[in-house]
């Protein structure tokens, strides 16, 4: 018992142990609610909700009416859960520093490559998020909704997506890191 509690308090687990936990969560999603995990779809639900409130005419299209209906969906609840899960995880290891928590631009590796400026990190984070969300739309899901959820059902789509992630990610890392790759 003490061992388990001490392990929960650790900042970083073995990826194998954390992976088993995620695998069980994936099974539980299907068993308890006949649904899959996902994250990128939730942002589309919220974007549609805001869009329809602000500019209903612009957002009155097939996508926001039928494909990804706006509103607080099960997917949105899942992402809210992920938010609190991250919070609880950090709290158990004493690394929760709300508002003062180190952003990526205080990561030693990030600093050596991009520098410590916050505006630069925020700009890249913003641009990256746009790219990620758009790409997830084309692919049919993100790391959780397609790679994990599709993979556990043995959907070929998931493995094509994972292969694509490396085909896109490796040259990007090479380009950013150059000699320091």
């Amino acid at each position: 018992m003490k061992f388990i509690l001490n392990y929960i308090r650790k900042d970083e687990w073995s990826p194998y142990v954390a992976g088993v936990l995620l695998g069980l969560v994936g099974i539980a999603a299907v068993w308890a609610s006949n649904s899959l995990l996902g994250a990128s779809g939730a942002f589309e639900n919220i974007a549609g909700m805001i869009g329809k409130a602000v500019a209903p005419a612009v957002f009155d299209n097939m996508y926001f009416n039928f494909i990804m209906p706006p509103g607080i969906t099960v997917g949105v609840m899942l992402v809210i859960g992920i938010f609190f899960g991250g919070m609880i995880g950090a709290a158990t290891s004493g690394t929760l520093k709300w508002g003062k928590k180190d952003s990526a631009n205080s990561d030693e590796q990030w600093k050596r490559i991009f520098g410590a400026q916050t505006w630069k990190r925020w700009l890249i984070a913003f641009f990256g998020a746009i790219v990620l969300e758009y790409a997830a739309g084309i692919a049919g899901g993100c790391t959780s909704g397609l790679a994990i959820s599709g993979g556990m059902l043995l959907a070929p789509a998931a493995f094509l997506f994972i292969a694509g992630m490396f085909v896109g990610g490796i040259p990007t890392a090479l380009l950013i890191y150059g000699k320091r790759f």
């Binding site: 308890a32 942002f43 084309i138 094509l160 890392a173």
Partner: protein
């Protein structure tokens, strides 16, 4: 209502596992693309082995049915993945890890991250009919799985995947198939 509570609970455990695996850190994400830290791959493949074994076993026992399987349309899955990999290597997160990192109090994940995902969602939703129908029509196999598509035994498919994963873990952890980058 019940589904909302279940989703919230699932999310909490999901986010917790992302935090404990260290995937809410910039260097964990970027370094998998440099092959200097394969945590992301170990985490994902372990999760896949566990969940695919469990799901196919439970379905075999008649305890569950599968939800809608994500659709396979080769060019779209692949091109989407390539652009996604670019975004991930650049930003050091993905939608799920950004949500978990935001919960830890990382403001760059919470503010420009959330804002960017919403902007990306708007751009996608407004260009959807010009992009998606065309790309998803190419080599579309529908909501299929590998055992169904190629008439494979699910058991042997999963066994093969599990053995491949174990071999890969062995090569990474014991044989030293992990690079030592000049930038750690």
């Amino acid at each position: 209502m019940t589904n909302f509570i279940i989703a919230l609970a699932l999310g909490v455990f999901f986010g917790f596992s992302l935090n404990k695996a260290g995937l809410t850190k910039y260097n964990k994400i970027i370094n998998v693309y440099r092959f200097t830290d394969m945590t992301v791959l170990k985490f994902m493949m372990t999760a896949l082995v566990v969940s695919m074994s469990g799901l196919y076993a439970l379905r075999g026992l008649g305890l569950i049915t599968f939800p809608n399987v994500p659709a396979t349309y080769i060019v779209g899955n692949l091109v989407g993945g390539i652009i996604f990999g670019f975004g991930m290597a650049l930003s050091g997160y993905c939608p799920g890890t950004a949500a978990a990192g935001a919960g830890e109090g990382k403001l760059d994940y919470l503010i420009p991250g959330l804002f960017g995902f919403l902007v990306g969602a708007v751009i996608y939703g407004l260009t959807y009919d010009k992009v998606f129908p065309a790309i998803s029509a190419i080599a579309n196999y529908g909501n299929t799985t590998m055992p169904d598509l190629w008439n494979l035994s699910p058991f042997l498919t999963i066994l093969t995947f599990a053995l491949m994963s174990l071999l890969l873990f062995y090569l990474i952890d014991r044989v030293g198939w992990q690079r030592k980058g000049s930038e750690q």
